[in-house]
Amino acid sequence: MRNRRQSIFDERESWQGPVAVSTTLHAAFFVLILMYGAYLSHLPHESWGSATASSGDALSVSLVSQAAIPLPRPAVQTENIVANDSPGLTQSKPKEIPVPEPLAIPIPAREHTRKPEKIREKIAVAAASTIRDTYRAPPPRESNVVPFGRGGPVDIPYKVFSLGGSAAGIGTPSDSGFGSRYGWYVDVVRRKVSENWLKYEVDPAIQNARRVFITFDIQRNGQPENVQIEQTSGVPSLDVSAVRALQRIDTFGPLPPDYSGRQVSVEFWFEFKR
C-alpha cells in the first residue's frame, strides 16, 4: 500500500519534448517575420520627405502676414460651463396648479334645495382664482444656454498662408467683414485700450488670472458705448480695471468714412500676467 503510493508520486512526466517543440516553433516564427520584413524592403516603394526621394518635394508652408481670412473657427472648449454666468442647462418650471372646474349651472327646478347666495359666491371665488392662476403663471423664457463650443471666444490668429512653390493659395473672400477691410482700425482699438489699461489697479496678490472678456460698441463718431463684462475673470479688481480702461477712453476716432455700418461691436479680452 505504502509502496504503491510512493510509486505514484515518483512518476514524472517528461517535459523536455514539448519545450523543444515550442522553442523550435517560436524560432521559426521569428525567422519568418524577419524574412517577410526583408522581402518587403525589396519591394518598390517611396520614402516620404527624404532628400533622395524620387518624386514629390517636401512641402514648406510659410506664413505671410496678409489680411486675415475668416476661416471656420476651431472647436474651442467652453470655459467651464458650470461656473460661468449662464443660468445652466435646465430651467425650473413653476408648479402647475390644477384649475378647479367651475361649478355646474344650477337647475332652476332644484333651486330651492340650495342657497343661491353661496353658489354665486363659490362661482365668483372659482372664477377669480382661475383668473389669478392664469396671470400668475410666468411667461415662457427664452433659453439662453450657451451651446457647447461657442462660449469661450478664443480664436487663433489665422493668416493667409501659401504653399511654397505651388500655385495654390487661399484668397480672401470678397465680403470679409470689418476686420479685414479696416485692419488698421482694429489695431487702433487694440492699442488704445492697451494704453489705457493700468495694470497696477489689479490686486497685487494676483499673479495671473483667466481672461476677462469685455464687450462694447463703437459708435460712428468713435465713442465706446455699452461697456459690459461678458465673462468675468474671477478677480474683481481685474474686472474693474478692464472696465475702467474703457471708461477712460473718450473716442477711438471716427469709424472709417467709407464704412457703411452704424456701429461696430467689439469683444476685447484682457490677459493678466505678472
Binding site: P157, F178, G183, W184, D187
Partner: protein, 478 residues
C-alpha cells in the same frame, strides 16, 4: 502683428435653427400642410436672404491685450516731385519729423526704402514696403508740385496713407492740399497731413503739429513773451512792453494770452489779444497777482493774489470780474491749475507747511488734499485727460541733500509717480501738449535756461530754443 478678428453674426446661426425648426413637419400632417409649405417656403427663403443682411448690420471685432503694444511702423518716402525744389525738401523733412515726434510711430529710416519713389496709388508696390528690410505696416506717400516759379503760383500736394499689410483695400487716407507756394505753406501742409495721419492712427486724438508754445525770452533787462511752433520753428515775439512779463497762459480757444506783467509796478495779471495784436483791459486787484490759469471752457481764470494780505488762490471770470477766494490757510498759495477734463478740481502749490508742496482741492475750495509728501515741489501742470499731474520736484531738498530739481508725473487717482528727467541741470515749468503725449519744460541742461520737449515717458528729448535765455513754456490747448 498678430491680431485676429472674426466678423460673423451670432444671430445668423440662431435664425438658421429657427427656420429649420419651422420647416420640420411630421409625416401625418404632411398632406394637410402641403399647401401651407408652399406658403412657408418663400417666407423661409426670404428669411435666409435677409439673415446675412441683418448680420452685416453689426460687425464684430474680437481682439485683446497680450498681443503686443508695438508702435506702428511707418515708412515716409520723399514725395514725388517733377523737380527737386526747396519746398519739397522742407515738406519731406517736416513730415518726417512730425511723424517721428508723434510718439506713436516707429518711423523707418529712409536709407532702407526701395529705390522707386511712388507718387500715386497706381505706382506703389506694397510688397516691397511690406517685406524686409522696410517691413512697414503703413506707408505715407504722395506727390508734390509747385505750379509756376518758386515765388508765385500754388503748391499742390496729394498725400496717401496705405496699409501695407492689407492688399485688398489698402487705402486708409487720401488728401489733397493746395496753398500759395512758399516755404511756410510747405511746412503747413506737412503739418496738416501729419496731423491727419496721427489722428487716424492714434485713436482720434488730434495731432499737435499745428499747436503753439508760448514762452518767456530774456533780452537785456527785459523779458518778453514769445511764440513758436511745437518743434521750435517760427519763433516770434508777442509782447513789446519793455518790461518783465512772466508765466504766459494761452486761452483754450487760442485767442487771448494771460500773463503776469511788471509794467505797472507790482506784478499784475495782464491780458493780450493774439487776434488783435494788442493789450486788453483787465482789472487790477491790488497786491501781487501771479500765475493765471484758464479753465478748459475758457470761462474762468484762477490766479494767486495778495489783494487781502496773505497770498491766496482766487477765481475770477475771464473778463476779470467777480473775484472769489478759494484758499484760507496761512502761507503762500500759488500756481493754480485746473483739471482740464472736468474743470472741477484745482491743483496748486502751497507753502502752508513750510516748503512748497502740491495740493489738490475741489473748484469751490473744499476737499483739500496734499499730493507730495516731502521735498520741494512746484509748478504743476494737469494732463488734458485729467489723469496725470506733471510738476517739478526736488525730493531730497535741504542743505547738503543730494537731490536735483526734476520733472515728475503723478497719477492723480493713485498718487503713484515716475521721474521723467534725470541727470544734470534744473528742470522746471512742465506743460502738457494738447494730445497728452508730450511735455515741454525749461531746463538748464546745457548751462543756460532753454526750452526742451520730450515724450511723456521721458524719452525723445529735443532742445527747442537755441539762443537767449528762455523759460516758462506753455503749450496751447489745441
Amino acid at each position: 502683428m498678430s491680431i485676429n478678428y472674426v466678423s460673423s453674426g451670432r444671430q445668423s446661426f440662431d435664425d438658421l435653427c429657427r427656420v429649420q425648426a419651422s420647416n420640420t413637419v411630421t409625416a401625418p400632417a404632411m398632406k394637410k400642410y402641403f399647401s401651407a409649405l408652399f406658403v412657408l417656403l418663400p417666407i423661409a427663403a426670404a428669411f435666409f436672404a435677409l439673415a446675412p443682411a441683418s448680420a452685416a448690420q453689426t460687425d464684430w471685432i474680437r481682439t485683446g491685450t497680450g498681443l503686443g503694444v508695438e508702435r506702428v511702423r511707418i515708412a515716409v518716402p520723399d514725395f514725388k516731385t517733377p523737380s527737386t525744389s526747396n519746398f519739397s525738401q522742407v515738406f519731406d523733412q517736416t513730415l518726417f519729423n512730425d511723424l517721428k515726434n508723434a510718439g506713436i510711430f516707429d518711423v523707418v529710416s529712409k536709407s532702407l526704402y526701395p529705390l522707386a519713389v511712388p507718387g500715386s496709388p497706381a505706382e506703389i508696390k506694397l510688397d516691397a514696403w511690406n517685406a524686409e528690410p522696410v517691413n512697414a505696416s503703413m506707408v505715407a506717400f504722395g506727390s508734390l508740385s509747385s505750379g509756376g516759379d518758386n515765388s508765385s503760383g500754388t503748391l499742390t500736394v496729394q498725400g496717401w496713407l496705405f496699409d501695407a499689410r492689407n492688399s485688398q483695400s489698402p487705402q486708409v487716407l487720401g488728401k489733397q492740399y493746395s496753398e500759395p507756394a512758399s516755404e511756410e505753406s510747405a511746412r503747413l501742409i506737412a503739418h496738416r497731413f501729419a496731423d491727419e495721419i496721427i489722428s487716424r492712427l492714434g485713436g482720434g486724438i488730434a495731432g499737435i503739429a499745428e499747436s503753439k508754445i508760448y514762452f518767456v525770452r530774456a533780452g537785456g533787462r527785459n523779458k518778453e513773451i514769445w511764440q513758436m511752433d511745437y518743434d521750435g520753428a517760427n519763433q516770434k515775439q508777442i509782447t513789446r512792453l519793455g518790461s518783465i512779463s512772466l508765466s504766459p497762459r494761452v486761452s483754450p480757444d487760442g485767442s487771448r494770452l494771460a500773463f503776469t506783467t511788471f509794467a505797472r509796478g507790482g506784478p499784475d495779471i495782464a491780458m493780450y489779444s493774439l487776434e488783435l495784436g494788442r493789450m486788453l483791459s483787465f482789472p487790477r486787484f491790488g497786491g501781487a497777482n501771479l500765475s493765471a490759469a484758464w479753465t478748459r471752457d475758457g470761462s474762468k481764470i484762477a490766479f494767486s493774489s495778495s489783494m487781502r494780505g496773505d497770498t491766496e488762490i482766487y477765481v475770477v471770470d475771464s473778463s476779470g470780474s467777480n473775484p472769489r477766494r478759494l484758499t484760507t490757510s496761512r502761507g503762500p498759495d500759488v500756481s493754480p491749475v485746473w483739471n482740464p477734463k472736468t474743470d472741477a478740481q484745482i491743483a496748486w502749490v502751497s507753502g502752508r507747511n513750510g516748503l512748497p508742496e502740491i495740493f489738490l482741492m475741489d473748484a469751490d475750495g473744499a476737499g483739500v488734499q496734499r499730493l507730495t509728501e516731502a521735498g520741494y515741489a512746484v509748478s504743476p501742470s494737469w494732463s488734458p485727460n485729467g489723469q496725470f499731474l506733471a510738476f517739478s520736484w526736488n525730493r531730497k531738498y535741504g542743505p547738503g541733500a543730494p537731490g536735483g530739481q526734476d520733472i515728475y508725473v503723478m497719477d492723480v487717482a493713485t498718487r503713484r509717480f515716475i521721474q521723467l528727467t534725470h541727470g544734470s541741470g534744473t528742470n522746471d515749468f512742465p506743460s502738457w501738449s494738447p494730445d497728452g503725449r508730450h511735455l515741454v519744460f525749461q531746463s538748464t541742461h546745457g548751462g543756460v535756461d532753454h526750452i526742451w520737449s520730450m515724450l511723456a515717458d521721458g524719452t525723445q528729448l529735443h532742445q527747442l530754443t537755441m539762443s537767449g535765455r528762455n523759460s516758462q513754456p506753455n503749450w496751447s490747448f489745441k
